[in-house]
Amino acid sequence: MILNHPSGRQAASCCWPSVLIFFSALILLLGAPLAGQSQTIKDNLRRTVAIPPRVERILSLQPEITRILVALGAADRLVGVDYFISRDDHLFKILFPGGTRLPVVSMPDESVNKELIVRLDPDIIFTSPTELQVPDSIQRSLGIPVVALASMGSFEGLLEEIELVGALTGFKERASELGRYFQEKIRSITESTGPLALEDRPRTYLAFWSSLVRTPVFYEPVQAAGGRNIADNLLPSRLGTIGTVITLEQILKWDPDVILIQGSFLPRERQVTVEGVLEDKRLGSVKAIKQRRVHYTLGFWYWWDPAGVLVETLYLARLFHPEKFGRLDLEKEGNAVYKMFYGKTDVFTDLIKSLDFHEWTK
């Protein structure tokens, strides 16, 4: 994946944005769409993919792209989805109820039903870049263009994705509108926090992916909200991902001010809970535990939900800097963000209820 840089710990964190920008620019340069002409783009696996001039039938095996397509208004062009979005994504069922009736093409072990793909006859297929062999395998055997994309914890990546998918599907204006909205919201947060010295940014540890010791080495919402991800300097433990597995001792060494636990799962499916972490005696000397600053955040949701990550950044800003965001009505803001992206009312209120995130609305 393009976001991984092998030249050292420091380089890994500081180069991510520049690498992203470089490839984003490449995408735009190569992929400037012209009506009626086929376009060539480079995806996140650095594959050059030729896209047909009109994209009417879309198969999305990447939940983040599926959500973007719905937000763009291209939901009716979806001819098939992956198993996660159809079966396990409790939010997507609210956003796009028709999605559950779409054919499911991929299975939990990442195998893909190629015969079904042929039957669905898509013009383009979206996959995630972590499934390294899948894009080439499908494209080679079926001759259908396959684009591997993911934001990988970066706002730049997400915005480029929205723009690219909008351009490829003919929803360029809507994509620009969503992009502008997203950027304005983030800008308003960073302007409110103002320039922050390093010591004014709460040092934050993120316990993601159902484990206390698995953490992302890059997660922009924390930075944008005026915090600091203390794992930012680490390399991912597997190429093509942004996650690593650390030791419990490392958490004590870091002594974070705040611990955030991925909470996008339904409460009954959570393996790591706020209560469990607060009661974990091994972490008893950690500042975040002593001050009881352990909270749920959304985190990845089989990649991101563009509206969700925006609301999450607002929530984190209030959590990190209550003196500046204390009066923020998160429920109202959250519902407005979801309305902007998906055109539905009270989605965030429903989400809070299903995830048991009542702390978010206090």
């Binding site: 996660f84 396990d88 484990s211 597995v245 001792e249 490392q250 004590l252 393996q271 091994r282 000397s285």
Partner: protein
């Protein structure tokens, strides 16, 4: 000359028996949180008598007592358990290719843990499900192969079939599990000591200790059981009962270890061979030395993970990286494999 060799072998055996204790102390000083030997010493003293060193940071005590100590003890126990299990089963089956998972323990444990994670959630520790189904898998193997004519060939074949059966069941559970549960399951399957706690030790250590003591007491009988059944019977051994006892004890310790730390491959295969290449095939020596060497290799592998890398690497990778080169060097030197 022979006397000199014997003394050398005895000296080496004593060295390997003491090694785990030395490594235990060294391991307590290794970790990403830098604590000097002096700091460690003061921490130990402050635990014994808090008044002696009241200035010791609370983090030092948490790291030493709640993180490093249970982790190192668990590494020792699991290393010893898997190695002794492998050594005993290789002797029992008279087959050098047998490992500790041959009777379906690993796939049974994996299925049990998956089932627990999917249907019972976090309220029920997956280790319990793992242990129960590891025992169920071995029970199924014994039950199915029990009446076959050539019993031990039948046992091995049934073990392979049961392994395949539980692997298929595991795939089925994975298919229906939510992705979040799968994340937790895959982490467990990788095999790791990263979340070792006293609770894990309370569950696994008594079971492992009981199994190890049984196998240690049976070590000379393993020599007899390595002979043909007729020869063993002529020496007054109740072959069937003794074999079942060995299988029960190996199941107990392997299931207890696997349920806590996941599947750690190769250890139970490599270590007994290392011991036999160095000290011969007498199980009176093989059993205790396998325990000592298995514990040592496991601690060294875990020390490498905790000391050298900034992130946790599945320990099975390092047990193989440490064990296999030694195995190959010895194989080349001795030019023989025990049977």
């Amino acid at each position: 000359m022979s006397g000199q060799n014997n003394r050398r072998a005895k000296g080496l055996a004593v060295f390997f028996l003491i090694l785990p204790l030395v490594l235990f102390l060294i391991s307590l000083s290794i970790g990403s949180y830098g604590i000097s030997p002096r700091g460690l010493f003061k921490t130990v003293l402050s635990v014994v008598s808090p008044a002696l060193h009241p200035d010791v940071p609370a983090a030092y005590r948490d790291i030493l007592l709640r993180i490093r100590l249970p982790r190192v003890l668990l590494a020792m126990a699991v290393g010893a358990a898997l190695s002794v299990s492998g050594a005993s089963l290789q002797a029992l089956f008279k087959n050098p290719l047998v490992n500790e998972y041959i009777l379906g323990i690993s796939s049974g444990a994996a299925f049990g843990a998956a089932l627990s994670l999917v249907f019972l959630g976090r309220a029920f520790p997956p280790q319990v499900g793992g242990f129960v189904f590891a025992v169920v898998a071995v029970g199924a193997v014994l039950l199915i192969s029990g009446k076959a004519e050539s019993h031990f060939i039948s046992l091995l074949l049934t073990g392979i079939i049961i392994t395949a059966f539980f692997s298929a069941l595991l795939s089925l559970v994975e298919f229906f599990a939510s992705p979040y549960v799968l994340q937790a399951l895959f982490f467990w399957l990788m095999g790791s000591l990263s979340l070792a706690s006293w609770k894990d030790l309370y569950i696994s250590l008594p079971l492992i200790a009981v199994g190890l003591v049984i196998l240690y007491l049976l070590r000379w009988r393993l020599n007899v059981l390595s002979m043909s059944d007729e020869e063993a019977r002529s020496l007054g051994v109740n072959v069937r009962r003794e074999k079942m006892l060995v299988i029960a004890a190996t199941t107990l310790i392997t299931a207890a270890a696997t349920a806590i730390v996941g599947i750690i491959g190769w250890l139970g295969f490599i270590v007994p061979h290392l011991v036999r290449m160095m000290f011969g095939a007498d199980n009176r020596r093989v059993v205790p030395l396998s325990a000592a060497m298995g514990a040592s290799i496991m601690m060294i592998a875990d020390d490498i993970i905790r000391g050298l890398s900034s992130f946790e690497i599945p320990i099975g990778i390092f047990t193989s990286l440490v064990g296999i080169p030694i195995f190959l060097v010895l194989l080349k030197k001795t030019r023989k494999v025990w049977l």
